[in-house]
């Protein structure tokens, strides 16, 4: 009879991992001989601290690697320099608009590299990248988990530096980074420092300010389009866990060099994008370079109750270009109506209706709003009826169609009761 191990070898299929045989591109020079792939046999004796240019932090019997970098004011990331992006001494004044709550100016930029994206107790952050502005420079500190046993100590260290900041800034942290690291804290029975901290998730703001709905919203594509930075030899995201696993199995830290650099670039881009958004908000509508930026900050102002700034933004966005014009007019009209500035709202609705390329959902909204306006405020029944009839031509849900037919019927009753039929106005 076979030993259990032999029987098991027939059952267990080898783990599959992306690029586990080695990265497919770039930095070949750093790669170990592929024949050293098996565990133990090819363990490198080169110190990861030396390879990655970091320092070991000892915490009790465990240690993890800390890699510090600092970027001088003159450092350029694409077309933007650190100096261009520094916050004012007292911090950006309208940062709270990005966080959705008022907060102070000390920011911690956080980006994790993880062993998987499926979530659950077995997905962990092997690299916690933190960044912050201080005294004219941008600092990055990366915590590398060298063995699982030191996770608790690593998390405590992250908690220490997160302890005295006012807000955390991430890219997609709401649904990925923060829940994942919260799970790690809770697994180690520690309280997470991020639970009640104001949080700026730049993914959502970036969509508003710089991208339409369909375009890619990856940080790296924003980095190129907005900051003008092209990465060279960047490690593709799907390859990152396998590189870490190889380090775990062989002790060879060389494949991680590119992963740490990738993480640093992400943090730099995140910081500079955040700075751009915060500056826009502080400087107001005149600094908006595109209609989309104007519309985007307008919405943030509106949400914060800064209605006059918001109206200015919407008006400017509507004038700046055709792309976002319907959305801008719509936002403008809705806000004006809410402010009970009905005349101004009606003219915005009318402008919307007069657009050549107005999407039909907005035509519906505009026609209905104007119909209400004519029927109830201007008491101009024929115009109201005309608008209602016009909107009946559009595709719509059954319920909505019924509502409009109801309106037409009511208008007809009112018209019959009033004067002899007036000639149509349109």
């Amino acid at each position: 009879m076979n030993s259990i191990a032999d029987r098991l070898r027939r059952i267990v299929r080898p783990a599959t991992a992306h690029g586990v045989g080695g990265p497919q591109q770039g930095d070949e020079s750093e790669e170990p001989d592929p024949s050293h792939g098996s565990p133990q046999s090819g363990r490198s004796h080169m110190d990861p601290a030396a390879i990655l240019d970091g320092e070991w932090t000892q915490a009790g019997s465990h240690r993890f690697l800390v890699v510090d970098r600092s970027y001088a004011p003159g450092h350029r990331h694409g077309s933007v320099s650190i100096a261009d992006s520094l916050p004012p001494e007292e911090g950006w004044s309208r940062l709270g608009l990005l966080a959705g709550t008022s907060c102070g100016g000390k920011l911690l930029f956080v980006d994790l590299e993880t062993t998987g994206i499926a979530g659950g107790a077995g997905s962990y952050a092997f690299l916690v990248g933190c960044g912050w502005f201080d005294r004219g420079r941008f600092h990055v500190r990366q915590y590398l988990l060298s063995s699982f046993a030191s996770e608790r100590a690593l998390l405590e260290a992250v908690r220490d530096i997160a302890g005295d900041v006012d807000a955390v800034v991430t890219y997609n942290g709401k649904s990925f980074d923060l829940p994942l690291i919260e799970t790690r804290y809770s697994l180690n029975r520690l309280t997470t420092p991020f639970a009640d901290m104001p949080h700026v998730d730049m993914l959502h703001h970036a969509r508003r300010l710089w991208h339409g709905d369909d375009e890619g919203h990856r940080l790296s594509s924003l980095e190129t389009s907005l900051l003008g930075h092209e990465r060279e030899g960047d490690v593709p995201g799907f390859e990152i866990p396998a590189r870490y696993f190889r380090y775990v199995h062989t002790g060879d830290a060389r494949p991680l060099g590119a992963v740490l650099e990738h993480n640093r670039l992400d943090l730099l881009s995140l910081a500079l994008l955040t700075a751009r958004a915060a500056q826009l908000l502080d400087e107001g509508v005149t600094s908006a370079a595109t209609a989309r930026e104007a519309l985007g900050i307008g919405r943030l102002y509106e949400r914060a109750g800064m209605t006059s700034d918001a109206l200015a933004c919407f008006a400017r966005a509507a004038d700046m270009g055709p792309g976002v014009c319907p959305d801008a007019l719509y936002a403008h009209a809705v806000l004006l109506r809410r402010l009970r500035r009905y005349e101004a709202a009606a003219s915005a609705w009318q402008r919307l209706l007069d657009l050549d390329d107005c999407p039909s959902r907005l035509v519906r909204e505009a026609a209905e709003a104007l119909a209400v306006h004519y029927e109830h405020r201007l008491r101009s029944l024929p115009s109201a009826r005309h608008l209602a009839m016009r909107s009946l031509l559009l595709d719509m849900t059954h319920a909505r169609r019924e509502a409009i037919e109801h309106r037409v019927a009511r208008l007809d009753r009112k018209l019959a009761r009033s004067e002899p039929a007036l000639p149509a106005l349109f």
Binding site: M1, V12, A15, T115, G120, G122, F148, T183, L187
Partner: protein, 816 residues
């Protein structure tokens, strides 16, 4: 359906007999009348295997037995129970509650409707009232059962909330729970109602989010424990190993309260599943009315072919007997199809009076939940007079207590039969249960040997949690959830060896500990391993069935082992009575493409199976038990006409061979026995084939397993003997010393062969009883197989072989 001899009345000798045997005292006169008609008034009578009613048993009424007060029950709960008319605990409730409150694991086996849920709700609610941080996890084998319990618990918790400031949170958490509700449930639930599958893939891997639950987990309730046998049970043990591992991490040590139908080994099963000692509470103190249990065997209509009158028609007539006397009745059918057919029949029988058709309902999985709730309510309130159900109503859904239960066919196990019979039975007054046998071998055996059912212990539930295939999957899941330490144990095998192999494959990495302390095994894989493991099968490598009739809908799934035999090209695939034909089998992609078809036949695959003995664990002639290699290949198929079972065509197939290692029991027929048989070689072969056919039925009965759980093959078992390929139980040639193999039909084995080996004598004795007791002349589907398959001498030769083996080994007593 086969053509039925139509009879409007019962056999003449039983009609219009004046009731005398069954006393009307204290019982329902209408029920008494029906029982009298069925038994011919002869109540206390011996079993008569050849009669229409083969057995009549009266189970006497029993008074309620109340246990004393149980210390530790919260006063507010006591008040609520009193308000609901519960004056005290029955003895079994008191015992179970006392064990649970003393933090002893307890398993309760009491009949349906004996107040079993209070056995676990009382200690759990008391504990929550005393300490609101208390948490409990309830596991049900189906989502429907969890929903049923949710309603019950909500009523209790609402009443309790009015007496305390405490809002007791009770929630189901399963695949239907909306994503946005999940966070709230994790925070607010005192009691979480779930199922093992959800715990496995949705809760344990995310345990940090459930930290509050695991830190405070005081009770784990496992309802319907008997459902966890075989593969499902083996998986559950591993899920519970992982659960307890996580509890240890969070510092809790929950008490387990399990409830089970009556099986032979409830304590053993509980201890095997939870791997902790258990107290057993098996004596019910609930009151019970008198119950009659009858076995009915439809009469033989063709002696030579051993064909009996249709059991469905018989069931229909019996159910109508109860129904037309205004008795509320539940009918259990064996399949969804026969459920629908019987429902239609009964509705047709009561065509006349307006409204009565609507009082007769069908019930099965696949009905929308709303409709099911409506039928359950109708049954409780009496507006539904008859329900025809699959086993969906066998489990503990609350439908109240009915007057009579008619079972169309033997449910397969003693335990399930008692469960179904328990659906009829009021706490006072009389009830009846009638089992109508089909012509299947198991049914015939049971109905002709009533003492097997009434007097023997019910089945043992068997599991094998250390099956390596199952174990490895769960070790991966466990390693994902929390790293193993280098000294940790898990299961019966050396888990460190398992972890070593997982490291070789890259799933985990061993990190040495500091200064001689334990190291840990770190998970080094991107996957979410629970997703790849299904608890209801041994491998998630299943074939999916895709209906291409209108678009492409997935309509079913079939395990990897049975895929080729049921999904080969041109196979007829049945779902709820709808016929599909397989157009293409993508073996590599594990997909079968089917299209709806209208035809009058089904298909039966021809499989060649070869068993090679790898290792004999124990041989105690003529039986043995060991590890075997099974290779099988589907080589063709037959087309069989519905109803007449005529062979109307065939086809050849070329499908890849399937191989597995598993464990097996085998019976060796010594060369001397074979040589001494005074029959022609073909007849000898028929005898061995017929014997294997009958042994399979009896093995299934003894093991309490499903038909597909075991496989059968005949051969020498030797590596080199290539001509020993067997064809669905039909050897092409016969070895000098043939062996009949009964193997576990799962890679790695699921624990059937060892107990079967231990029951070797009983297996042969009961096989002999089955063959000798069968009324057919030369073999039928009830004993050695249909005569067309096995030849005219099969019955005789098979009996002779058994007698000769018995004589050789002295273990068999010739049956009278």
């Amino acid at each position: 359906m086969p053509p039925e001899p139509q009879e409007a009345t019962l056999p003449p000798q039983q009609v219009d007999r004046v009731p005398r045997g069954v006393s009307t005292k204290g019982g329902d006169p209408a029920l008494t009348l029906v029982l009298d008609r069925l038994t011919g008034g002869a109540v206390e009578r011996p079993d008569s295997p050849d009669a229409w009613v083969t057995a009549v048993r009266r189970l006497p009424a029993r008074e309620a037995q109340f246990g004393g007060d149980v210390a530790g029950i919260d006063d507010r709960l006591r008040d609520v129970l009193r308000e609901r008319g519960i004056q005290g605990f029955y003895t079994h409730q008191a015992a179970a509650v006392a064990h649970a409150l003393a933090r002893h694991n307890v398993v309760i086996t009491t009949p349906t409707a004996s107040g079993k849920t209070l056995c676990y709700n009382a200690p759990v609610l008391s504990a929550v009232l005393r300490d609101p941080s208390t948490r409990a996890l309830y596991l049900f084998p189906t989502k429907a059962l969890a929903q049923d319990q949710l309603a019950e618990l909500h009523t209790l918790s609402d009443q309790l909330s009015r007496r305390s400031d405490l809002e007791i949170g009770v929630f189901t958490y399963d695949g239907d729970t909306p994503q946005d509700a999940r966070r709230a449930i994790r925070g607010r639930a005192h009691i979480v109602l779930s199922n093992p599958d959800m715990v496995h893939s949705g809760i344990l891997p995310h345990h940090p989010r459930w930290a509050k639950l695991f830190e405070n987990l005081q009770f784990v309730i496992i309802d319907e424990l008997h459902a966890y046998r075989g593969v499902f049970g083996s998986h559950l043990t591993n899920v519970l190993r992982r659960l307890r591992r996580i509890c240890r991490h969070y510092g809790s040590n929950p008490t387990f309260i399990c409830s089970s139908a009556t099986i032979a080994n409830p304590r053993e099963l509980a201890e095997a599943l939870v791997e902790q000692p258990f107290e057993l509470v098996s004596e019910s103190g609930a009151p019970r009315g008198e119950k009659w249990f009858l076995f009915v065997n439809p009469p033989v209509v063709n002696q030579q072919l051993g064909i009996r009158r249709s059991y469905l028609a018989e069931t229909r007539r019996l159910a109508a007997e109860f129904l037309k006397r205004k008795l509320q009745v539940i009918v259990f059918a064996q399949s969804r199809l026969s459920t629908e057919i019987l429902t239609t029949y009964l509705k047709d029988d009561f065509e006349g009076p307006p409204g009565i058709r609507d009082q007769i309902r069908g019930y099965r999985g696949g009905y929308l939940p709303q409709r099911r709730r409506e039928i359950e309510k109708g049954l409780r309130e009496g507006s539904v007079r008859a329900v025809v159900s699959t086993n969906a109503l066998e489990l503990g859904i609350d439908i109240g207590a009915l007057d009579a239960c008619v079972m169309a066919g033997y449910p397969g196990t003693i335990a399930a039969t008692w469960q179904r019979a328990g659906r009829a039975g009021r706490r006072s007054g009389r009830s009846a249960a009638v089992l109508v046998a089909s012509s299947a071998p198991l049914d015939q055996f049971v109905v002709r040997n009533p003492s097997y059912f009434f007097d023997a212990a019910p089945e043992r539930a068997l599991i094998n949690p250390d099956n390596l295939h199952i174990l490895v999957d769960h070790v991966k899941c466990a390693a994902f959830e929390l790293p193993f330490t280098t000294s940790e144990q898990y299961g019966r095998h050396d888990v460190q060896e398992v972890l070593g192999v997982l490291q070789e494959s890259g799933f985990i990495h061993r990190a040495d500990g500091e200064e001689g302390g334990d190291g840990i095994w770190q998970w080094t894989n991107e996957s979410y391993p629970a997703d790849a493991v299904s608890l209801r099968s041994i491998s998630s490598d299943n074939f999916v069935v895709i209906d291409m009739t209108d678009g492409s809908d997935v309509i079913g799934e079939t395990s990897f082992t049975s895929g080729p035999a049921t999904l080969h090209e041109k196979a007829i695939y049945l779902v709820e009575g709808v016929l599909y034909q397989v157009e293409k089998l993508d073996f590599e992609g594990r997909k079968a493409y089917v299209r709806r078809i209208d035809c009058d036949y089904y298909t039966d695959a021809i499989t060649y199976t070869k068993v090679t003995v790898l290792d004999t664990f124990i041989a105690d002639a003529p039986g043995s038990h060991g590890e075997v290699h099974v290779s099988s290949r589907v080589v063709g198929f037959k087309k069989i006409k519905f109803y007449t079972n005529e062979n109307v065509g065939s086809g050849e197939l070329d499908l890849p061979e399937q191989q597995m290692h598993t464990s097996a029991y085998w019976l060796t027929i010594p060369a001397t026995v074979m040589a001494s048989l005074p029959f022609a070689p073909d007849d000898r072969r028929d005898g061995v084939v017929g014997l294997s056919f009958a042994m399979r039925q009896v093995a299934q009965l003894l093991l309490m397993c499903d038909r597909q759980d075991i496989g059968i093959s005949i051969g020498s078992g030797n590596e080199g003997d290539s001509p020993d390929l067997t064809r669905t139980g039909e050897p092409v040639t016969l070895s000098d010393e043939p062996r009949i193999f009964i193997y576990d039909n799962y890679p790695g084995g699921i624990g059937f062969s060892e107990p079967l080996f231990a029951m070797d004598d009983e297996l042969r004795r009961r096989t002999r009883d089955l063959i000798a007791g069968c009324e057919c002349q030369n073999g039928c589907p009830t004993c050695v197989g249909p005569i067309g398959n096995t030849g005219p001498m099969a019955k005789t030769v098979a009996l002779r072989i058994l007698d000769l083996i018995g004589a050789t080994h002295g273990a068999m007593e010739p049956s009278a």
